[in-house]
Amino acid sequence: MLWQTVRLAVQAIFRNALRSILTVLGVVIGVAAVIAMVTVGQGSTEQVTSDVAKLGTNLLMVRPGQAQQGPQPGNPASAFNLRDVEAIATQLASVRAAAPADTRTMTVILGDQNHATQVVGTDSAYLTARDIPVVLGRSFYESELRSGAAVCLLGQTVRKELFGSGDPLGQSFRIKSISCRVIGVMAEQGVSTFGTDQDDFVLIPIRTFQRRIAGNADVTMIYVSVRDGVDTGVAKSQIESLLRERRHIGPGEEDDFNVFDMKQVATILTGITAVLTGLLSAVAAVSLLVGGIGIMNIMLVSVTERTREIGIRLAIGAQEGQVLLQFLVEAIVLSLLGGLLGILLGLGLAAIAAALMKIPFSPNPLVILLAFGFSAAVGVVFGYFPARRAARLDPIEALRHQ
């Protein structure tokens, strides 16, 4: 009987295919919005998580200046120096590696090739702290670091720009007036959440950088990687107190530097994603509501149009519940159809968005199931009133209806 009822409903729906599709458009859009949003949201969360993991979830970045942005009152905070880095690396047990860094955007030149890139002065700890393997050649020797030799490690993008598919090892190119010899190439990092190319950089020894590019002894950033199993929060406060001491900051004074925990990025981004998902879910809910009202409207029209049919069924011996079920099933089948179309559309949109945004396409079966259930619920809620109206028709009047 139920199967019959479903078949009947499907027949009734396809008898008026165009109208049915227009009717369920609201549900289609609502469900598609939910599915697309959640899928894209999930994909970008995964992307962020893997980006952060790539950067190192136990990575801290120490910079001079206060945490808040904008112009700082009073004197600009002084940079760090190499002894600060050494103190962090050697005095704190929670620290696995600490790398100094100073960065400039510069043009690198080889023959008639030139390319603007980030030149980072640092040391071997940089590779440890940021967990970047050297895939070709080697890292810096201690002697090269100490003497400030003109040697460098290339990111994949710079390698491609300057050397194409050729072997860069042992070759030299120019950074400003420095002729720099390539000793290694770093593994590919890919594109970050923010769309920046993380392979577009060159590493040179920090002393080389200070002496021949910056012309000072500054370290403008310290990368610190925390030992496994150590809470980054603990390491952060240890670094803070060590640096306060080294920079002679009195007990009542604010830090003139800040320690940035990569985990914060993840938290912020996840937060943004959650807010966006919430907002769009609200839009989707409204859309589903509108869709439901559309279904109710068309079901009421359908009941009126089919008054005589209902009269015939009642005369022949259909009970109230059976007529109710017939129209309810029709509304449910209709909205499930809308739900199904919405899921397909939503997944399609999400797949396109994922491809454009270069994030993983990760459909969530639970959400799909939920959307399906939700569209069934829309059918029940908004189909009930018209179905009840049909079921309560007086058979004599219904039969007389033209």
Partner: protein, 235 residues
């Protein structure tokens, strides 16, 4: 249900519509007994209460007062769903306007009552085809009502009425939309189901040449039975 009770017994049935000044007394004390196997024609002028009586007999409507015993059981107080069950199992309907479901094949139309009886698909199919065969439309099983003539549609409607082997068929002006030849075909069918299958037939008609097919003619006037007697054979 007692075996010797008449199939249908109406006692002092009244039916009023509306209230106060606008009140219409459609039936005004109708007593009527119909035995199982009878073939009854109800006649009378327009507005005399024929359809109202048929609706009460068919359990589509309830009387304002009085008693209706069906197979000895008082059914005047049954609720909607109970009346639906009664109709489902004992009563077949034939209407003036055929009342087939549009865009639904003849076969599916005939199957419909069996669907509500909860019968399995194959059995339903077989019985419906058999019923269509009995009205001479086995070859039209797959046709929609819109592809059938009026007479054919009414035959499909008769097949739908008899497919569930009802005790009685209620036919309100079954030939009202048909010409004489077609009307006689319909009456011959009803006569056959009456004599061969023992189905009681209650029929409203305006036409004397249709009424003669019945064994008994009841004349209504102003909501009362004015005359009730056996059909006098013209031969």
């Amino acid at each position: 249900m007692s075996a010797d009770a008449p199939l249908i017994a109406l006692e002092r049935i009244t039916k009023t519509y509306g209230m106060g000044d606008a009140m219409v007394r459609a039936l005004d004390g109708v007593d009527l007994t119909i035995a199982a196997g009878d073939f009854v024609a109800i006649m009378g002028p327009s507005g005399s209460g024929k359809s109202t009586t048929m609706n009460i007999l068919g359990c589509l409507d309830t009387p304002t007062s009085g008693h209706y015993r069906f197979k000895g059981v008082d059914v005047s107080g049954l609720n909607r769903d109970q009346r639906a069950l009664l109709r489902r199992h004992y009563i077949g309907f034939v209407f003036q306007g055929y009342n087939l479901l549009p865009r639904t094949s003849a076969l599916e139309n005939v199957e419909m009552p069996l669907l509500y009886k909860g019968m399995a698909h194959d059995e339903r199919r077989a019985l419906a085809l058999d019923a269509l065969d009995k009205v001479g439309l086995a070859d039209r099983a797959g046709h929609d009502p819109s592809e059938l003539s009026g007479g054919q549609q009414q035959r499909v409607a008769i097949a739908r009425a008899i497919v569930g082997r009802p005790a009685v068929i209620m036919a309100d002006e079954p030939t009202g939309n048909l010409d004489t030849a077609r009307s006689h075909e319909i009456m011959e069918l009803l006569t056959r189901f009456n004599t061969e299958d023992g189905i009681t037939i209650v029929m409203v008609t305006h036409e004397p040449d249709v009424a003669v097919f019945a064994h008994r003619q009841i004349h209504f006037l102003d909501g009362r039975i004015a005359r009730d007697g056996a059909t006098v054979e013209a031969v």
